[in-house]
């Protein structure tokens, strides 16, 4: 009867071998998965007071730094010298509230490697640098400040990017908050105040909030019309103050309820320059949901944009609109089933400026180590091609006329050819959202911009894209070109 006893012994020892294997998995192979799990407080507790890397703007202004703690030797306190101006981009690294923005997305680069784990000790032996890495952004402090101040305390967002590279030059979201409050004493009280604030200062309006883009979406409808060959800027349409939607009692009316031209016919160019809603409702139905959806998706709608963090997905509901012509008419003026982030609309302007090619947007230009040596540079990536250079040229032609003689005249910058499109979209309780998207200089664009002012800003019910958003775009463009 020794045989069954031997087998029992073997069974127990095999069991212990399995325990050993499982322990190897948890503590060696997959240890980092569990060590770095955001719910594992142990890791964060070890990061208290650790040095983190610098975050600096493209023009070398410090946006985030770790200062030696005067109370505890060897300990550091994180600070954000630019306060609310870069809050939505830089974010915060807080013991109580975790990480946000670039502090979160680049946490692994920014943290010190001095963790006293075995792999760190090995790194020391191998002579690796344990000091945190630093980030240099593509955003410039000067342009970010101009945009922040141009919004002048109104709720909204400005996104400016280089259309040929996708580098973000400025990205503002207001109202903002001071990230310094979330790392210091009384952080919990400040956090509660921010959460309770009806202006929602913690919301990133540039990338994580969706709004109807209004008439700025007419650029997308026009692009689809040109791509399908259905129309060109000279094509004529019946001139009407109001368009009766098919299969519905609703109408789409021009702003102010007036005709667009002489009351008989209007060219597409004229309708675009004066932003006539009736014409675009008719055009959208004529083009159809499919071609518009195709151009929209080429620009980044209906998908997760490649970005530093997860952004809200802008939407054009192609399938639903294929079956509902009345809704398609309303969506042709950027209402109903169309939603977009300011970042997305900046990409639309950028695509027109860059001959139809959309560049993937990015925030970090390079990472460098404590000695200033470059570790990594961002590689440019093409997101896709939304339309042909011919279509881009026609759109540019129309958009320039918007600024020279149409609804976007206040976006003009003396001595510079600016192209753009205004938008006035359904907002909050009769106070419309004001939009402007554009780029400059027309002959060789270096900046594309989207301006969004929530619920009319200080103009309230009388707000329009041309009166509220276009002047901000003008300041941002001239600030960039005269830097």
């Amino acid at each position: 009867m020794n045989r069954p006893t031997r087998r029992l012994a073997a069974a127990v020892l095999i069991g212990f071998a399995l325990l050993g294997l499982m322990t190897t998995w948890v503590q060696v192979v997959a240890a980092d998965t569990y060590r770095l799990d955001p719910r594992n407080a142990r890791f964060n507790l070890t990061q208290i007071g650790k040095e983190r890397g610098l975050i600096v703007s493209a023009d070398s202004v410090v946006l985030a730094q770790s200062d030696p703690d005067p109370a505890t030797t060897g300990s550091f306190i994180r600070s954000y010298p630019t306060g609310p101006v870069f809050a939505n981009v830089v974010g915060y690294s807080s013991l109580l509230f975790g990480e946000q923005g670039l502090e979160r997305a680049y946490s692994d680069d920014l943290r010190s490697r001095r963790d006293l784990t075995i792999s760190d000790l090995l790194s020391v032996i191998l002579g690796r640098d344990l000091r945190p890495l630093n980030l240099q952004l593509t955003l410039t402090d000067s342009l970010q400040r101009i945009a922040f101040e141009a919004l002048g305390g109104q709720a909204g967002s400005v996104v400016a990017l280089d259309p040929t590279t996708g580098a973000i030059l400025a990205m503002v979201s207001t109202p903002s908050y001071d990230p310094n409050l979330l790392v210091g004493v009384d952080a919990a009280a400040h956090w509660q105040t921010l959460l309770a604030d009806p202006g929602r200062p913690l919301a990133d309006r540039a990338t994580r909030e969706l709004y109807p883009p209004g008439s700025t979406f007419k650029t997308v409808v026009s692009a689809a019309a040109f791509e399908t060959g259905l129309a060109n800027p000279e094509s004529t349409f019946p001139d009407e103050a109001s368009f009766q939607l098919p299969g519905s009692t609703a109408t789409v009316d021009n702003a102010g309820g007036t005709n667009c031209s002489n009351g008989v016919t209007t060219s597409l160019l004229n309708a675009f320059v004066r932003s006539c809603n009736a014409t675009f409702a008719r055009l959208a139905i004529a083009v159809g949901a499919e071609p518009i959806g195709q151009v929209a998706e080429g620009l980044g709608f209906n998908q997760e944009l490649p970005f530093t963090w997860t952004v809200a997905e802008s939407a054009f509901l192609t399938d639903e609109l294929s079956a509902d012509l009345a809704a398609l008419g309303q969506s042709g003026i950027g209402e109903r089933d169309v939603r977009a982030t300011p970042l997305q609309m900046a990409l639309v302007a950028g695509a027109v400026a860059n001959q139809g090619v959309v560049m993937s947007p990015y925030l970090v230009g390079r990472t460098f180590d404590a000695d200033g040596a470059e570790v990594d540079t961002s590689e440019l990536a093409i997101f896709g091609t939304a339309f042909t250079p011919e279509t881009a040229a026609l759109l540019t032609q129309m958009m320039e006329r918007v600024v020279t003689e149409g609804t976007g005249r206040q976006a003009a910058v003396p001595g510079v050819r600016v192209a753009g499109k205004t938008g006035t979209a359904t907002g909050v309780e009769g106070r419309p959202h004001a939009w402007f998207i554009g780029f400059a200089p027309v002959e060789a664009p270096t900046i594309a911009v989207a301006v969004f002012v929530e619920a009319g800003g200080s103009a309230g019910e009388s707000a329009s894209g041309g009166a509220v958003a276009a002047p901000i775009a003008s300041q941002v463009i001239s600030g960039w070109l005269n830097r």
Binding site: V12, G15, R42
Partner: protein
Amino acid sequence: MTRTAESGMLVAAAGVAAFGVTLVILAGGQTIDSRIGLTFAVMVAAFGTVHMAIRRWAPSASTVILPPAALLTAISLAEIHRLDPVRAGLQQWWLLIAAGMTVALLFFLHRRGTATIRRYRYLYLLTGLILLLLPLLPSTGPLPVRGLEVNGSRLWLVVDLGITEIRFQPGEIVKLLMVLFLAGYLAERQSALAERPRQLGPFKFPEPRQLFPVVAVWAVSLVVLVVQRDLGASALLFGAFIGMIYAATGRPTYLLIGAVLTASAGYGAYRLFDHVERRFLAWIQPFQNFEDAGYQVAQAWFGMGTGSLAGSGIGLGRPDLIPNAATDFIYAAVAEELGFAGSLAILAGFALLIGVGFGIALRCRDRFRKLTAAGLTWVLGLQAFLIIGGVLRLVPLTGITLPFMSYGGSSLVGNFLLLGLLARISHEEPA
């Protein structure tokens, strides 16, 4: 290994415990005090007296039984000290009591040996059953002995001594009594159980009346499961039984029957009891149920992962984030602070002890002693596997103690007596 070498290793283990307590005190920023010397003294006293008792009353016993147990106890004393100094103090008292009882056992057996044990096998069955049912006594009332329910399981006995009360888990003693009963019973009936005169389809069976105790012990396990709602003790008792009957008969059919019965009882418990369903969730998806059922297991894994290869160092990790770290999750607490190295030390310690135990069983010529040694070792191994496997998610989590390591007096007493029996058997059947 000589006796003297053994004593040296026991002193070394006492040194490990004292060194661990020193590190805990220093990591906590406290000044060195008498606790270090006290820990050393208690370890030397406990294992030293058992060692002396073996020298005197069981001189031919294996020398490899005490050292691994002493190492496991030493690591656990330091870790319990780190988690809860008050409990560490109580655990040291229990260690002395357990050692005292083991010395008493060795003395009791020294004249006529384990043969006396065999004689009273049905008394063990009866005592075991009574002990199992004792926690069902009313939890309030005039009786000095009361039952107590903790975490949904009713497996505690409270003995009121007037000045203080002692909490005890009878299940830890029952497991020994069951092994002794089964060894006695099976040594006698082995051939009857191995024969299979009955046939049903392709399966052959022993006479039904021979199977009666099989069903009886399964029923007892079920009672433990249903009435006391204690998954761990139930699985351990039944596992012990199936293992021993297999060792006695060599018929794999019993393993199959055992597996089927275990699975059906487990499924029934899953359907019937909320806390079993919670444990199942904690087993399958601890990270998806982090907020409630999976919290304990997830925290244990976070701790073990953070500990990684070398651990945080004792006193420098956060095993206090794991609920019940000092009892059910002591393995995870040690793994976090002493790292992979510490985990492997524990596993190696148990593997050594189990190897020695089975080695003794294989050497035995007497059937009763062979079955007792195999049964005791099997129970020890199964218990350690079930709770460590529960922490590591190899098996569902059952709330049983890790022998020599979990905080708890009954467990310490039960497992010390187990060592004493093994030592005595190895003395009676020297290599």
